[in-house]
């Protein structure tokens, strides 16, 4: 009798223990057959999992390259921080643009919205004697309102965002010219009547690096938006809508409301950018940032966010903007004709989109 039970218990011991073995040996039957991974494939996999690394790597490589090509004048603490100053406004516009592009939309009117908001801020406080802080608030409200207008036109009229914002770009821009007669509100008048408008242009020297308060604000806004997009339900809904609007609708997300809120939030970001832009430019200039609309899209694309929506990180736009600034500065210091800055920009866009397409194709 004991021998039989011994045999049975020995047999039982020899049987593979189901729960243990699942944890140890048999994982491979539910993974992709990747075969032998070449170095390139390993990179592709890594980038697929961490798409923000693409613009970071391009940024680091380009800073180092221009350091060699253009020398110490480029690679100094002062110049590197100057580049951050130079891309601050486009960076903020790119942050707003990312929100909209994540929903599979696009906004061609971001710079026009920003200039319009800054015109309100300037005209109210400098020319009409309104206290500065309320004037700034009005400007931000103008930003939110113009954003909401875009959102409502997209959701109510069911028009593609490209078309809507193409129209509103022209409308907002025409309003800017109408309100200002194309004349700037000069820096010295602002200094006398509403110096708070210049606040974000104040500079601070940190061991050779000279940053504006605006540059810090830009980085802060990117961090806040990253947290919102990744840690809140609202943020997840933004990605969901961009990924598949119908599926989002079916899963209970009120897509129209969400979309309007996205455009409105983008408008708020732009309104803040308007205040920062006065610090950067010095004056309220109706003709400045004329190419800001396309510049913001460029930064977003180079940063790796797909124009098809639902994919991409907001920090990518920051790195995209920095890359553009690095190339612009580096090529200039290297002494190349100014048209090569534009040429390089075009190449960067195509390379960025090409890399993005490549890292999507991870599985054979």
């Amino acid at each position: 009798m004991n021998k039989i039970s011994d045999d049975i218990s020995k047999d039982l011991q020899d049987q593979p223990k189901f729960s243990e073995d699942i944890g140890s040996k048999n994982q491979d039957h539910h993974s992709f057959d990747v075969g032998e991974q070449t170095f390139i494939k390993k990179i592709q996999h890594f980038l697929h999992g961490n798409p923000t690394m693409v613009p970071i790597i391009i940024l680091i490589l380009s800073v180092i390259s221009f350091g060699f090509i253009a020398g110490g004048k480029f690679f100094s603490a002062f110049n590197l921080s100057l580049i951050v100053q130079q891309v601050t406004i486009v960076g903020i516009l790119a942050a707003a643009q990312t929100l909209i592009i994540l929903t599979a939309g696009i906004d061609l009117s971001v710079a026009a919205m920003m200039v319009l908001a800054s015109v309100f801020m300037g005209k109210l406080s400098v020319e009409m004697g309104v206290p500065t802080l309320p004037a700034i608030l009005v400007g931000m409200i103008v930003g939110v309102a113009t954003g909401a207008i875009n959102g409502l036109l997209v959701t109510r009229l069911r028009l593609p965002p490209f078309i809507v914002t193409l129209g509103t770009w022209n409308i907002f821009f025409a309003l800017v010219i109408f309100f200002t007669g194309s004349q700037s509100i000069r820096s010295s008048d602002i200094e006398i009547n509403a110096p708070l408008l210049h606040f974000w242009g104040e500079r601070i020297n940190l061991g050779g690096f000279v940053f504006t308060y605006g540059a810090f604000l830009m980085i802060f806004m990117f961090v806040v938006l990253w947290l919102v997009l990744n840690k809140t339900a609202w943020g997840r809904h933004v990605y969901a809508i961009g990924d598949d609007k119908e599926a989002a609708e079916l899963s209970g997300i009120r897509t129209d409301r969400m979309l309007v809120s996205v455009y409105a939030v983008a408008g708020l970001v732009i309104g803040i950018g308007a205040w920062v832009s006065i610090g950067r430019v010095g004056s309220v200039s109706p003709t400045s940032f004329y190419e800001g609309n396309l510049d913001s899209i460029t930064a977003v694309v180079i940063g790796g966010t797909s124009l098809f929506g639902g994919r991409g990180t907001i920090l990518g736009a920051l790195f995209g903007a920095l890359i553009v600034g690095v190339f612009s500065s580096g090529l200039s210091i290297a002494g190349l004709d100014v048209l090569w800055q534009r040429f390089a920009l075009g190449c960067l866009i195509i390379i960025a989109v090409g890399i993005d397409q490549w890292i999507r194709k991870v599985s054979n």
Partner: protein
């Protein structure tokens, strides 16, 4: 139903007849078109205002068109075509592409319209019936000569930043830039484009789009190439203001850097007064516009064409260097006079 349809049809016919009548029955307002390079450059905004004012005084009905950016030739072509079709008697045009627009304007002339070139002469200049222009080359030259005279012997070691308009090098940008260099005494190599010069005194050619933001970024880049820049040529006053902001940020707004500009709008002249701009070449867009409108009225009523300035192929509306820091050998007017004559 049939009666109602008949009634509606006849009402429509009557309305249509009335609508087309004014052209024949003669409301007699002379129609003209003003086509500028852009509608955002304050220079052209003022030109439009001047034209509008004169047109209202003379009873001329003016239609306005503008390109989207300096260099936008296509929009101007469509504007000319629209103008011909609308029965206008004349076209006032500040051409973006002074060569390509010529055949289009010839077509207008063949249709009986008077063609007046404003601000920038066409190529050839005789393609227009008359030209009320400013000499952009002279405007640049005055600035360059002023800077050179101010520097004296130091002109030989000057470090110059050239802040231009945009990469496609529209004629106004080329003329002012090359004029400045000529006035300063630097070989322009090919006077039909900027950027090809070899003189080591030129530190950089950067583009500004003619606005403050562009001026600031361009100047920052130039200062990075050489922080010892002591001369700045700027395409217009907004760009100069932006460049000054960059100087301020670099702690160089102590008067050691000479800034020359062009345009002569009231804000610009005020900046000369404030010491932001050293000297600016003042042009007179309001005068150009009102002379142009008068010419079209004369053409429509009497068939007469305007006369050119003696010895010139165009009517020179003039350019004056505005500065309170006159240099010997370079004619200039005071800031006070500049303010009296400024536009905007």
């Amino acid at each position: 139903m049939k009666k109602i349809s008949l009634l509606l049809a006849s009402l429509l016919a009557v309305a249509f007849t009335f609508a087309t009548l004014p052209a024949k029955a003669g409301s007699h307002a002379i129609e003209a078109c003003l086509i500028t390079k852009t509608d955002i450059n304050p220079f052209f905004v003022k030109m439009k205002e001047g034209a509008e004012k004169r047109a209202n005084e003379l009873g001329v009905k003016l239609s306005f068109f503008a390109g989207k950016i300096d260099g936008d030739h296509e929009t101007q072509v469509r504007a000319v075509e629209t103008c011909i079709a609308s029965g206008a008697k004349g076209i006032l045009i500040a051409a973006s592409d002074t060569k390509a627009i010529v055949p289009v304007l010839k077509n207008a002339q063949d249709n009986g319209l008077l063609v007046i070139a404003l601000d920038t002469p066409l190529e050839p200049i005789t393609a227009a019936d008359s030209t009320f222009a400013t000499d952009n080359f002279e405007a640049g030259r005055l600035g360059g000569a002023w800077v050179a005279a101010k520097l004296g012997a130091d002109a030989a070691n000057a470090k110059i930043a050239m802040l231009d308009l945009n990469e496609s090098q529209p004629s106004v940008g080329v003329l002012r830039d090359q004029g400045f260099l000529t006035g300063f005494g630097i070989d322009t190599v090919d006077v039909s484009r900027w950027g090809d010069e070899t003189d080591p005194r030129i530190i950089c050619n950067e583009v500004t789009n003619g606005n403050e933001e562009g001026g600031r970024t361009a100047m920052e880049k130039c200062l990075q190439k050489d922080s010892g820049i002591n001369v700045i040529y700027t395409i217009n006053e907004p760009a100069a203001v932006g460049a000054y902001e960059a100087l301020k940020a670099a702690g160089k707004d102590d008067g050691s850097v000479l800034i020359a500009s062009v345009d002569g709008g009231c804000p610009g002249v005020a900046d000369v007064q404030r010491g932001i701009i050293g000297a600016t070449s003042q042009q007179y867009p309001l005068l150009m516009a009102s002379l142009g409108v008068e010419a079209i009225k004369a053409w429509a009523e009497n068939g007469t064409k305007p006369e050119n300035s003696p010895g010139l192929q165009f009517f020179n509306t003039g350019v004056n260097l505005v500065t309170d820091d006159a240099a010997s050998g370079v004619p200039s007017i005071s800031v006070k006079e500049g303010m009296d004559r400024c536009w905007g």
